[in-house]
Amino acid sequence: MSGKEYRTITDVKGPLVFLNKTEPVSYGEIVQLMLSDGSIKNGQVLDTSDDQVIVQVFEGTASVDRQTGVKFLGDVFKLPVSKGLIGRILDGAGRPRDGGPDIVADEMADIIGAAINPYSRQSPESFIQTGISAIDACTSLVRGQKLPIFSASGLPHNDIALQIARQAKLVDSDDDFVVVFCAMGITAEEYNFFVHDLERTGALENSALFVNLADDPAVERLITPRLALTAAEYLAFEHDYHVLVIYTDMTNYCESLRQIGAAREEVPGRRGYPGYMYTDLAMLYERAGLVKGKKGSITQFPILTMPGDDITHPIPDLSGYITEGQIVISRELHQKGIYPPINVLPSLSRLMNAGIGDGKTREDHKSVSDQLYAAYAQGRELRGLVAIVGEDALNERDLQLLKFADIFEDQFLRQSRDEDRSISEGTLDLAWNLLSNIDTKYLVRLDQKWIDKYHPTEKSSNEEE
């Protein structure tokens, strides 16, 4: 393209720059701003017409003036991709951050990413064992799923994400995961925590990191996850890797989205977030999955902190409508000193049924999981009742359920940060042991045939009736 430089900036507003009278500029085109001090900023066209062009500047508009030169590069934003991305640390705009050389591109990939044809997708159905009982038993993860962690400030979501990244393995193959890690607006301290842990366990060599920290430009955050996902797609669908994408923190991403919306004077939706936030988030989350004819897969673990622990806040709310379930971290459990403090009741994995059962995990998995839920839910409800009327008012069944809720939290949920439980012996057998504290007649979710086969004290072999 021409590479003509314009000096026609009329307005600068927040992260946006308005220009007049340009040659036709395409929507989404990449822009370079040449500042008078010689520095260069990058941006993207948000709105274009014969009379005016609006550019969103990734690095912020500090020191942009009317004399700043603007060059349109004639192309949409692309990321150089190659297998060389693995083991590298890049910044939020895709430049090396680890002091290494530039990525030698096998291909330039459009970072917006096209939608996968729903007809060409393959149903995710391979169980991923995370070694964490709460997840494996109750919100089982499958390859190709997008399962966010709904957390809040002060909770150990990072430890959980790292533990998953460390322990995740497929039960039906020996393939390892490649981790693509995307940081959006997290603090340097959190970032160091991630990097050190990945280093310590040797996982860093098997990871690609895209990092935008809290003091990096906020608007850049809008492209960081797109870069990460573009890299993930390339690795998964061109090189057959199973990619685990962890991104944190989605809340910061949404804040940036709101910032741009406000600067453009758009009509805001709920709580000031733009009306298109659902679509925008979907363009990220939907880049998970498997496609027919390709071996690789993308599994996503977005982490978001719920402002004010409020699950109805637009960010978790819209996410929950797009993702295939959620893992909810509970402050209450955390304060009881339980790690991982996963509240299984509001947690959910929508693809669980496809990934568990005979031949995948174990035949009784579904029944056991339903029974754990039901018993724990009732037990927790009874705690509220006991607080008012005392334990004396409870009947036998209620007492057992009440006690079960405590055991469940203490023995099933609680595990150490490096404890890797296998699904069959580690998790499901443990569940049966705990459930045996409740009379069989109250275990209505369990098929009789599973009770005969797995119940520690009522297995057919030692039944006399």
């Binding site: 036709p24 500029v25 395409s26 929507y27 989404g28 085109e29 709105d47 274009t48 017409s49 014969d50 949409v76 917006i112 990413g113 096209a114 939608a115 996968i116 044809n117 729903p118 007809y119 060409s120 997708r121 149903s123 799923q145 009509v267 805001p268 709920r270 298109y276 659902y278 679509t279 979907a282 363009m283 989350y285 939907e286 999955g289 496609v291 390709k294 109805t312 806040h313 409508y321 797009i322 959620q326 929508r350 693809l351 049924n353 496809a354 579904k366 339903d370 839920y373 039901a374 839910a377 009742l385 008012i388 008012a393 409870l394 009947n395 007649k441 209505v444 979710r445 098929d447 009789q448």
Partner: protein
Amino acid sequence: MSKENGVIYRISGPVVTAVGISPRMYEVVRVGDEGLMGEVIELHGDQSVIQVYEETSGIKPGEPVIRTGQTLSVQLGPGLLTQIYDGIQRPLPKLEETMGVFITRGVDADGLDLKRKWEFNAVAKKGDDVSSGQVIGKVQETETIEHRVMVPPNVSGKVKSIKSGTFNITETVCVLDDGTEIAMMQEWPVRHPRPFVQKYAPDVPLITGQRILDFLFPLAKGGTAGIPGPFGSGKTVTQQQLAKWSDAQIVVYIGCGERGNEMTEVLDEFPHLIDPNTNKPLMNRTVMIANTSNMPVAAREASVYTGITIAEYFRDMGYNVALMADSTSRWAEAMREISSRLEEMPGEEGYPAYLSSRLAEFYERAGRVETLSGSDGSVSVIGAVSPPGGDISEPVSQGTLRIVKVFWGLDAGLARQRHFPAINWLNSYSLYPQALDQWYRDNIAPDFPEVRTEISTLLQIESELQEIVQLVGSDALPVDQQLTLEVARMIREFFLQQNAFHDVDTFSDLDLQYHMAKAILSFQEEAKKAIAGGAQLEDVVNVPARTDLMRGRFEKGYEDRISDLVSEMSKQIDASMEAN
């Protein structure tokens, strides 16, 4: 009409402004060098505002805009069934062929296969007077569905010639006296309802095999229902259950702005499912529209219209059609997104002021009608709503509830207890029972409505008792009220809960539903007698036969055994009285 060419003036996301043309409202235009499909949604001085159905990045001002002279239409004819479309009726398998697994743009694809040959059997004869909507021939489209080829709208006359044989859908099969040629395919603009003679009041239930729906909150054929619920409460599973098991002859399933993997699950699963009414694959009667959340937003807006037009077309053949839209909230959000790009004055929560009238227009296209050919057809519409935070005071839920006659309220609390379907029995409602009661009396059991009332009354009483239990504990209640709680628990766990993923439990026919309800009532009656006769509540509740009765529903042949199980239970309850 001469085709004028204009140029692009401005691009902002999916909204493009063009100058130099004066198209009609809702005319389809081709935008840019790649010829992206768009629809005119606003005229403003010499500017025409266009919503574009494909991704717009890389497009420049100055690129051409070409009028087509047509409004957004769908192709109707043999070949619709078993197909899966995007929001503007492009077949997804075709798109995969031309552009691979990722959807790029600028690809045009016909909704129907124009080359495929079909066996056309004429039913009209030379010399017949025919008018629009009249069936002139038949095509066996799938194993189970006969496609009835109709005279297109606004056409009538005397048949000059008509021939049976093998044709593709654009070949002329019938010529009228005035020279009008009729082929198997016709087109219809999606934003206009197809014509009919008159609407009837619905008086036949749409049987879904889902106990809580059929028994407590039935939907009539030709009726409308809304399913609002927060995420994770089971909207999609409920919609899919309806698509699988409802006794409509044709099912149109619209995945509007939802998850890609979920659509894939449907696509993988449906071809393997067997229709309990015909014993043939369910896919044979299904048309799917999938516009996932990351596909272009304007096509999402169009997808519900595409779907309902296809539904109306099958209705006009005299079929009962069920349409599921999952989710109408995503459709409304697409409207909101486009509206805000147009810089329209927003109504509530940023939605356009015309939101509720658009919703009403859509649901109003449902109904049981006398078709132009004099037969009886219906479209039932079931719309999922995804209210933010599960709070149904928001505009889309409210706009929907004002129109629909059935409300299936999903409840996060129930979902959390893994009570599925998580439909709240206390706040859900159906306005159809009165219209349908006679049908139930005639076809299932004379006392069906009374049994239903008894069951729902018990649930109501339970909720009142629960409030007391919350304060004082269940042991403080008198024995008869404790029994009521047990009976209500049985209703919930045995009757209302239904496992969509269990081979047997996933579907219960109405007869079985009735017998299960009766079984609960007979437990109540026997237990009352036994307790009056001195039996302990605990012994009565814990008779093994009751557990067998409840667990039995997961086994094949339950409908044959249920009465034996009930009498065994009665026997054991009697015995528990004597034991004391």
